[in-house]
Symmetry: C2
Subunit: 126 residues, 2 copies
DNA sequence: TTGACACATGCCGATATGGACATATATTTG
DNA sequence: CAAATATATGTCCATATCGGCATGTGTCAA
């Protein structure tokens, strides 16, 4: 039996499959922002985000599994720290579009005009 | 009844809720890449991605709803074009972490050394 | 008008999700 | 040792997802 038989039902990629998925959740993005510069304990994060502790722990678990955060044991606390290296691929991907969202109106208008001309030139092609 | 009662069951944010979610799906990222520079028809995209046409159409719908692509009718075809402006917020967010993944080895080593020292100082805790 | 083509959408099924809540585990303190 | 504290995890629930497949709609050409 071929492999794809088993992976047929892949309703949606797991949040732990990569940084893109992990970071799609707003609370997790907020956590990463809070972790800039210094470590924080779970309760500290929960209070800052105004969400429950289990909820915070679960989000941290996802971030841990994709390697965006590290944990350090400190007594009864777990101090979470940022490991932003996993975000670089996202940056690489998105920066590849910079020239397109920066297209100024002149170029955009020119582009549209060109399209219209082409449409005209083609006439009723095909 | 308070509003949160109705939004209690938010299993997972809709893929159409923002660019972050829309772009979490690999095929949709590939579509956007294929759309750099020029428009493409649905079948063209389907062939390039080697996926079925309905599947392609569904991904395009998501991208359309978050405003990352535009459609233009051309006879019986629909030509999809990139509208990358919606990616700028993603870039803004991720670029805020650049200094952290760029932390050079000196600082990283220093950090690790500090951790080890602390661990040592703690003795054989636990 | 009819057939061919391009595309969108509806239905079905299995899945992982995120939240609330309760509970388990481990550490510190008295 | 017991209570308190910090954290992780398991269960339950409603949902949206993505994939395949079938079908509907619209356009073009003969």
């Amino acid at each position: 039996m071929p492999i794809w038989t088993y992976i047929w039902f892949m309703a949606r990629a797991a949040t732990t499959s990569d940084a893109f998925n992990a970071v799609a959740e707003p609370q997790r993005r907020r956590i990463l922002v809070l972790l800039k510069g210094h470590e924080r304990s779970v309760n500290e994060l929960a209070r800052a985000l105004r969400i429950t502790q289990p909820r915070t722990s679960k989000h941290l678990r996802v971030l841990r599994e994709v390697g965006l955060v590290r944990v350090r044991e400190a007594g009864q606390q777990r101090l979470y720290g940022l490991d932003a290296r996993g975000l670089e691929p996202m940056h690489e991907w998105v920066i590849g579009f910079e020239q397109y969202w920066n297209e100024n109106f002149d170029r955009l208008n020119e582009y549209v005009k060109k399209l219209q001309q082409k449409e005209h030139a083609d006439g009723k092609r095909r």
